[in-house]
């Protein structure tokens, strides 16, 4: 090598290193009013912070997924709108469900955040670990089941949205075959598949549900392929438990039907969209921030649904009959006043065994541990990774 070449090469390597750094994605969004008085130390008094409350969100996917993470970010924005200068919020996207999450949690603590939301199941162990070390910081873990003195869990009864979607699907299907694109085989997802089937069977006892697993929460091309495989087998209404709009889009391309999940996805499949089972995280987030601000925050488990305004089925299209729409309103009213229960016996599993006796209503413990398919769902539950 002649020296000039070498100098060139070093300059280029330095430029490339700078480019590499630009590939990291981390954003902060201070609220409109002020950030001046915020304290930078993590050892902030939980009861009365000096300056605005610093809140941080860790997202497993991008805000632009138009699904799960988008719904959480909607909730975050509602908090900003409600509390204005009393809070500052920040978020980190695409935090993987791995050891990396621990690093991000510690980072958020070091930045002075005293209320941290982890929005996916896989953050459970990292949050638990960091929570035991940062005892003055409040941690909120979505869809988890382990709590601590300063770590509590919250979840949404997505199965209620799945049930209502099932009621509509059962009425719309012509082939009596429904398809579900499943993400990861954990109880929450299996419960959703079962609830979807229960809803469909309540209006059409002949339907069967077929499931294809993509083993990821978010992988649009894979979700599209799974949807295509289900359509190829004769399913004409699709449901999903994954985070993007690819399934709905695939249904639209094929002239079949689908639902939006987590957020309103009607614009991704105008003809195919029957409704979207959405999650409103706003009510819970506002409640949590209120408790943090007035000092009444304490650990526990929260599981909100239609009753508390956390779950809804929106965007019902014209393809849905008037009587189906009326039935949905009935179900929502019943869930709100407690007169209606989705998981009420008799309910039979795939093998014919009765898992809920006639008149028996499932409690939260039963619901959290559902690891079986009910009658009507085809196939076997894969062992989760």
């Amino acid at each position: 090598m002649t020296p000039p070449n070498l100098i060139h090469r070093r300059a280029v390597s330095a430029a490339l290193a700078c480019l590499l750094l630009s590939a990291c994605s981390k954003k902060t969004e201070p609220s409109a009013a002020t950030t001046s008085a915020s304290s930078a130390s993590a050892a902030v008094e939980a009861a009365k912070p000096a300056g605005p409350l610093k809140i941080a969100f860790a997202y497993v996917g991008p805000v632009g997924d138009a699904g799960w993470t988008f719904a959480h970010d909607r909730g975050r924005k509602e908090v900003e709108a409600e509390f204005g200068s009393k809070v500052t919020t920040a978020f980190v996207e695409n935090v993987p469900e791995s050891a990396d999450a621990e690093r991000v949690m510690r980072d958020l603590v070091d930045q002075g955040n005293t209320l941290i939301f982890g929005t996916t199941f896989g953050y459970m162990e990292p949050m638990l670990k960091v929570a035991t070390e940062a005892k003055s910081v409040r941690f909120e873990h979505a869809t988890g089941y382990k709590t601590g003195a300063n770590l509590r869990t919250y979840d949404a009864r997505t199965y209620e949205g799945a049930y209502m979607a099932g009621v509509i699907a059962g009425g719309v299907t012509k082939s009596n075959k429904l398809g579900v694109v499943g993400s990861i085989p954990i109880p929450e997802v299996i419960r959703n598949i079962d609830s979807f089937t229960l809803g469909a069977r309540s209006v059409n006892p002949k339907i069967t549900t077929h499931v294809v697993w993509v083993n990821k929460w978010f992988d649009p091309p894979k979700e599209g392929e799974a949807a295509q495989a289900l359509l190829n087998q004769g399913a004409d209404v699709l449901m999903q438990n994954t985070d993007s709009s690819a399934v709905l889009q695939t249904a639209e391309k094929a002239g079949k039907f689908g639902f939006g999940w987590d957020s309103n996805m009607s614009k991704f499949g105008p003809k195919a969209h029957l409704g979207s089972a959405i999650i409103n995280w706003g009510p819970y987030y506002k409640q949590a921030v209120k408790e943090a601000l007035d000092g009444s925050w304490k650990t526990g488990k929260t599981w909100w649904g239609v009753k508390e305004g956390a779950i809804d089925l929106v965007g019902l299209s014209d393809q849905v009959s008037a009587e189906a729409k009326a039935k949905i309103e009935q179900i929502k009213a019943g869930l709100k006043d407690g007169s209606f229960s989705i998981w009420k016996g008799p309910i039979v599993d795939q093998s014919g065994k009765e898992v809920l006796k006639a008149g028996e209503t499932a409690d939260d413990k039963f619901l959290s541990g559902i690891n079986f398919y009910i009658k009507g769902v085809e196939g076997k539950i894969p062992t989760s990774g």
């Binding site: 090469r9 590939a23 632009g64 138009a66 190829n232 894969p382």
Partner: protein, 308 residues
């Protein structure tokens, strides 16, 4: 599985394998000239977001695909100048390009994440696609699918029957000899890299505009890396690249189909099946080491210095 389902499965396999085939064919030209472009994934991502953004603004699929091609070619040109004229390490530069593409596309794509492209046209060949089983299986594809097959044939002819293809292969085998014979080695390599980048760009735009018409960061989900591996396993021959890509797409759709049927195999195994099957088949058909030696560009990945 009845015949109609089989036809649909076949069609879905071809559709699934097309972006990988396109990218791998581009990389094949790249690598036949002796340059290894590990930045395929980044190229595809940037092209995907460019294509999608163009489709949103112009409502024209054709312009969107063209924009993807252009984006791929421009980025590849940048890579080529670094690697061929400045002689930076091809592996490191490729990886950097890959990372850059991922971050850049995510950054540029933020305003497009919730956009949708409206109604998509169903492409059919008049008359032919109405045939009972062969119609959906062979004649209902997007034009790009047919183009991919034509490209593969064209590349086969170009590499092994055309004089310019021979020159390209010679540059990949021994750039010093080609240089001694008077061929402009570096210029030809730049053209090859740009052509390869253009095809990777086309593949990326195809994914975001035709296959899954939306933009989400990271949506290429590793297809660029699969294409890189495919090119090597297919011993740099266009027909085998095509076969490998369709096989990969086929087993992917098959395992999803099997799941839907209720077949009880661990899903981790089913997810790994496309990779295993493709590697196995390609290794078996290319196991003759003389074959590998005669097809692998000997100067792949090595920098070339004229007059050094």
């Amino acid at each position: 599985m009845n015949l109609n389902e089989l036809a649909l499965l076949f069609a879905a396999s071809i559709n699934s394998g097309t972006p990988i085939a396109l990218a791998a064919l581009g990389l094949l030209i790249n690598e036949r000239s002796g340059v290894l472009n590990l930045g395929a994934e980044g190229l595809m991502l940037v092209a995907a977001v460019t294509g999608f953004a163009t489709a949103v603004h112009t409502h024209s699929d054709f312009l969107a695909l063209l924009a993807g091609v252009a984006a791929g070619a421009v980025l590849a040109l940048f890579f080529a100048l670094l690697v061929i004229y400045l002689n930076t390490n091809q592996y490191a530069t490729g990886l950097a390009l890959s990372l850059f593409g991922a971050g850049f596309s995510a950054f540029v794509g933020v305003p497009y994440a919730s956009e949708s492209l409206g109604e998509r046209t169903q492409f059919t060949l008049p008359g032919l696609s109405k045939l009972p089983v062969l119609g959906p299986a062979l004649f209902s594809f997007h034009p790009l699918v047919y183009l991919t097959v034509l490209l593969s044939l064209a590349f086969s002819w170009f590499l092994f029957r055309a004089r310019s293809g021979l020159v390209l292969r010679a540059i990949g085998e021994s750039p010093e000899s080609a240089h001694a014979l008077g061929y402009p080695v570096r210029r030809i390599r730049v053209s090859a890299v740009m052509a390869g980048g253009a095809l990777c760009g086309l593949a990326g735009a195809y994914v975001s505009v035709v296959y899954t018409p939306l933009w989400i960061e990271g949506m290429i989900a590793g297809k660029g890396w699969i294409a890189l591996a495919l090119t090597a396993f297919a011993t740099w021959r266009p027909a085998r690249v095509l076969l490998g890509a369709y096989l990969f797409g086929g087993v992917t759709m098959l395992q999803l189909h099997l799941q839907g049927q209720g077949v009880n195999l661990p899903i981790q195994l089913l997810t790994a099946l496309p990779y295993l099957a493709t590697i196995l088949v390609l290794v078996l058909i290319s196991r003759n080491s003389a074959w590998i030696r005669s097809n692998m560009p000997a100067a792949l990945g090595k920098p070339f210095h004229p007059g050094a």
